[in-house]
């Protein structure tokens, strides 16, 4: 079946466990984060030119691709850090407003965050990536009156001050989420 006509049925494939490693340069206050498949990511700080990186954290997560069971199309999500639900901030934030309007209609909104592999360069999921992810999670719902809406994190007004809750496994060794 031609892909453009396919009513895709997505399935997660090539699941890989790993860590979201977040680093900060203490000279420039720049941040980067990336996916690591190491068994235990190094927490050792290091120097790189004029930058001095410290490791802020390594939280467990997964990486995956989606494959359509009908047409075989594969969509890669190597750039997806995780999903975040807005916990409310300012009324000027589009994500905050969308979350509240949607909630009244039993639609749960989540923002898809991408890894920031380079300082000050923000990436976003493509429309195809967002559409496939939405279809996958909506297909798993059991409640008929519930919907999932996964949107681009570009809707956030203040990414650095965002109070959203990112779905990743923080502090698993302690069983309790750190403050």
């Amino acid at each position: 079946m031609p892909r453009e006509l396919c009513n895709h049925e997505w399935k997660m494939i090539n699941l890989q466990s790993g860590f979201i490693v977040t680093e900060k340069c203490i000279n420039t206050n720049e941040y980067v984060d990336y996916f690591s498949t190491e068994d235990a990511p190094s927490m050792q700080e290091y120097k790189d030119g004029d930058k001095y990186w410290i490791i802020l954290g390594a939280d467990q997560t997964i990486r995956f691709e989606l494959e359509c069971q009908l047409c075989g199309q594969i969509i890669n999500y190597d750039n997806l850090l995780g999903l975040m639900n807005c916990t409310g901030c300012t009324g000027e934030c589009h994500l905050n407003n969308l979350t509240q309007v949607a909630r009244d209609n039993k639609i749960l909104v989540y923002a898809a965050l991408c890894y920031q592999n380079k300082p000050n360069v923000t990436e976003y999921l493509t429309l195809d990536q967002l559409k496939a992810l939405n279809k996958l999670y909506n297909s798993r719902l059991a409640s008929r009156d519930k919907k999932i809406l996964i949107v681009s994190s570009s809707l956030r007004l203040l990414p650095k001050g965002c109070r959203g809750d990112i779905f990743k496994d923080v502090g698993l060794l302690s069983e309790e989420e750190p403050e």
Partner: protein, 109 residues
């Protein structure tokens, strides 16, 4: 099986309002990323985690309820979030293993 029926058969205690959902299966994991990857709507989620994230991820996957094993107690804010998300949270003194055994004996396959 409905949640209301499950309470009569298994040694679990509700911590908030009862939302009487159909149980379509059981998912056991202490990792939210695991639930994101493999969880399905209607699953009864068993975990020992007590943080607020179990409610937001549980709501996204549309779990039928959450059972926290080994007598772990979530904070009040977790219970409030569970009511808002219409997810019943249970606690039990049973270990995860024993709880699974009871669920199986109760007829959840």
């Amino acid at each position: 099986m409905k949640i209301s029926e499950l309470i009569k058969k298994v040694n679990i205690t509700p911590l908030n309002n009862l939302f009487d959902r159909d149980i379509t299966g059981v998912f056991v994991s202490d990792m939210v990323s695991d639930l994101m990857a493999f969880g399905k709507g209607g699953n009864l989620w068993i975990t020992i985690q007590t943080h607020k994230k179990i409610i937001s991820v549980g709501a996204m996957i549309d779990v039928s309820a959450i059972i926290i094993a080994r007598d772990k107690q979530p904070l009040e804010e977790v219970i409030e979030a569970a009511n808002l998300s219409e997810i019943t949270v249970f606690t039990t003194g049973l270990s995860t293993y024993d709880l699974c055994h009871e669920l199986y004996e109760a007829g959840i396959r």
